[in-house]
């Protein structure tokens, strides 16, 4: 009983949130990794691409809700998401046509592209804010919980409760589907393989009859979809704010890198690693230990590995430690 209580407590506060957060980071990191793997630069505009996709989805959701169309217990935003993906797809394709294409033709160094993406980030950032404002927006509707703390307690009779939010469940399911689809696409389809070839050696891809424009187009569309999905899931689970999405860039990059940038498996592993690191390293074990240890032996202090002040720094420390022992990330980076 005591043991179960401790376990439930841990699950409720550590495992479930970290899983959901990890999945959101992972999908974000997949987008970054894909751009890196195929177009060869670290895309700083990714956070703002996510913000844009989410913003469009929010607007469409509002329209749908106003028209009385909802998804019942599921958030209406899921219904609006395809529109968001489409709009984001158009945006990134437009951006590519207007901006990135030129540098590709010039065979510019990637660092130039990185800085260009910084410029794109500024612009998208501004656009999104002008478009939807800087405020905090909550757009999750439908049933909030799959299971609330109270329900769980009544159901099991335990002292501790376990809550599972609808959005958390949706996040995990969507993430699984997205990742599986992406993998199948990259490794099994002709287009997917041609994308990898393009990323490896552009000139030679040309000589093999691969149409570079098509590869780039497809890449951007997938990236737009990943960005929107990640953004919407994140926004549903928490809330939407332009600034937050920009800030998300750091953990997303950390996830992509720690897993091995350019490697989709790595992006996923990295997402979960960063999420779990954030939650666990500063987690005080006091209460769990009180449950698990024999009576009277529970600790007085918080039993925290590191004080919460350093939470943010800690996830980077994990990153550094991983890089020290695996200098190219958990899964050897760079190629798909």
């Amino acid at each position: 009983m005591e043991f179960l209580n401790g376990l439930v407590f841990l699950t409720n506060f550590v495992i479930v949130p970290a899983l959901a957060y990890g999945a959101q980071l992972a999908i974000g990191a997949l987008g970054v990794t894909l751009v890196y793997a195929i177009l060869r630069f670290s895309n700083f505009a990714h956070g703002d691409t996510m913000a844009f996709g989410t913003a469009v989805t929010i607007k469409v959701t509002a329209v749908l809700v106003a028209m009385g169309i909802t998804l019942g217990p599921l958030p209406t935003a899921l219904l609006a998401m395809p529109v968001g993906i489409l709009a984001t797809g158009l945006l990134v394709l437009g951006t590519d046509w207007l901006i990135y294409k030129f540098y590709r033709q010039q065979k510019a160094k990637p660092v130039i592209l990185v800085i260009v993406s910084l410029g794109v980030m500024f612009v998208m950032n501004g656009l999104t804010r002008v478009f939807i404002g800087v405020r905090d927006i909550q757009f999750a509707d439908g049933a909030r919980f799959l299971m609330t703390v109270r329900q769980f307690k009544d159901w099991t009779g335990l002292d501790e409760g376990l809550a599972i939010k609808t959005t958390q469940a949706i996040t995990l399911v969507t993430a699984a589907i997205t990742v599986a689809a992406l993998f199948w696409f990259l490794n099994k389809t002709r287009t997917g393989k041609s994308m990898r070839a393009f990323s490896d050696n552009e000139d030679l891809a040309l000589l093999s009859g691969i149409d570079p424009d098509r590869v780039v187009r497809v890449t951007w569309l997938i990236v737009a979809a990943l960005a929107t999905i990640a953004g919407v899931l994140y926004g549903l689970d928490k809330s939407f704010k332009a600034f937050t999405y920009f800030q998300l860039l750091l953990p997303i990059f950390a996830a992509a890198i720690v897993g091995g940038i350019g490697n989709p498996v790595g992006a996923i592993a990295g997402g979960f690693l960063i999420a779990f690191a954030e939650v666990t390293v500063t987690y005080p074990l006091k209460k769990v230990l009180t449950y698990w240890l024999p009576d009277g032996m529970g600790p007085d202090g918080l039993v925290q590995l590191l004080s919460g002040d350093y939470k943010f720094a800690v996830s980077f420390m994990i990153l550094l430690i991983v890089l020290l022992f695996k200098p190219t990330g958990l899964f050897k980076g760079q190629n798909i």
Binding site: N125, G126, L127, L320, G333
Partner: protein
């Protein structure tokens, strides 16, 4: 267009921007821009040495700048004697224990044979020393932090000049190179560990280290008051308010036909500008000489192809470390200057966007690999950064003047004018890179 012509044109253009701000708007603003511009230029120079010359992708500029800021506090603030008495010794002892522990750990790691015993010993030792360190250190820290927490609660600095350190007005100028040294020390430690990483990994590692440095500055209150900020840092130049009541100055100003207030603000800024320029010019000179020498050639070779450079007898690791330290030291120097100019240390101000990415933009737009280019790029981009915030809203009002006065669109557009800083900044950046993808002054 020859290189020299291009360089001169660019220099003249940047000068015109600043002078134009002075003539068309006001000189105080122009000089503020100039001063921060000079500091940005120094940072850009540091980054250019690392990236443009050696191909080191350091995205941790912010951390070194912050360390420079810390040095400014530690050197220029007067010491807090009560705090020293309360826990200074204990904190120092704690730090000594920490340092000793690391030394012991490193020795053990080097001496013992690989294997499970070593791992075990390492783990036990680290846990033990961690606890020893925390026990001693934490006690000292809480003693210090409880000394008048809302106003001090930290150890203060080393400025024994009277009047809150103002009598030793020259301390800040000493603090700047010390900021460089502090950053250099950190760079040495970081470089030892991280320079083996591939470029993107080095990038994220340095980014992370910078975040860690800032986190430390935010949370170690005993050192620099953390998020509570240290204000009122002494300056190397006179105070405007003092000048305004100095009869000699007032007469001099009146003779020039400027009112004393304006004259004082301008004078102070000019003095700063002079000081910063001296540092910038000396650094630029040294950097130029280094670049156009066998040393610069060796660095470029290493950047071009590490394996081949190594086979040609160049010690790539050592050289990387060397330039990493030098570049970081320059960033630290600039950081110390900036803190002095701000007059306060605000750890929350250290945001990667401002202190890392903006500096990178400066380098790339100016022309990576070209010292003069990155210096001028620093001034240009800083001018833009300010100008867009300054003139953006006016532009927006002007742009929307055609719209109906009451229209909601107009109102919302004007409201979002500050966001235009990002939009315009981005657009300008994209335009510059579009028409000169290798920067305004490309590496020759």
């Amino acid at each position: 267009m020859t290189d020299t012509l291009r360089t001169s044109l660019f220099a003249v253009f940047v000068a015109l921007l600043i002078l134009g701000t002075g003539f068309l708007d006001n000189w105080n603003l122009a000089l503020v821009i100039l001063n921060y511009g000079l500091i940005s230029a120094i940072m850009a120079l540091g980054v250019n040495l690392q990236w443009g010359l050696a191909g080191l992708f350091n995205v941790g500029v912010m951390g070194f700048v912050a360390l420079g800021g810390l040095a400014s506090v530690l050197i220029t603030m007067p010491p807090v004697t009560e705090a020293w008495a309360a826990g200074g010794g204990r904190v120092l002892l704690g730090l000594a224990i920490g340092a000793a522990a690391i030394a012991v750990l490193v020795t053990v790691y080097k001496r013992m044979a690989k294997g499970r015993t070593r791992n075990l010993v390492m783990i036990v030792l680290s846990i033990a020393s961690f606890f020893a360190f925390r026990t001693v250190f934490d006690g000292g820290v809480s003693a210090i932090e409880s000394v008048n927490p809302s106003l001090s609660g930290y150890l203060g600095g080393l400025n024994f000049g009277g009047d809150a350190g103002r009598d030793w007005w020259w301390m800040p100028i000493i603090a700047w190179p010390v900021g460089g040294l502090l950053a250099a020390g950190a760079a040495w430690a970081i470089g030892k560990v991280a320079l083996g990483l591939r470029s993107d990994y080095l990038a994220i590692a340095t980014l992370g280290i910078a975040e860690i440095i800032v986190a430390v500055l935010k949370n170690e209150n005993w050192m620099s008051r953390g998020v509570l900020n240290v204000t009122g840092l002494p300056r190397p130049v006179p105070y405007e308010t003092d000048l305004q009541v100095d009869p000699a100055f007032v007469t001099a100003a009146n003779d020039l036909g400027i009112d004393a207030t304006t004259a004082s603000t301008l004078a102070v800024k000019l003095l700063y500008a002079g000081l910063f320029s001296v540092f910038l010019i000396v650094l630029l000179l040294l950097a130029q000489r280094a670049l156009h020498s066998p040393w610069g050639r060796m660095m470029r070779a290493i950047r071009d192809n590490e394996v081949a450079a190594e086979a040609m007898g160049k010690d790539v690791t050592r050289r990387h470390l060397q330039i990493f330290i030098i570049g970081s030291a320059i960033c630290g120097l600039a950081g110390a200057m900036m803190t002095t100019l701000d007059g306060q240390m605000t750890p929350a101000a250290y945001q990667p966007l401002r202190f890392t990415f903006l500096v990178w933009v400066m380098v790339i737009v100016g022309g990576s690999g070209n010292n003069i280019g990155s210096v001028l790029g620093g001034m240009l981009i800083w001018w833009l950064w300010v100008a867009v915030g300054e003139y953006g809203p006016d532009l927006m009002i002007w742009a929307t003047s055609a719209l109906h006065a009451e229209s909601a669109l107009k109102a919302s557009l004007i409201d979002s004018a500050p966001q235009m800083r990002f939009l315009v900044m981005g657009t300008v950046l994209l335009l510059i890179l579009r028409f000169s993808p290798r920067g305004i002054l490309p590496e020759k």
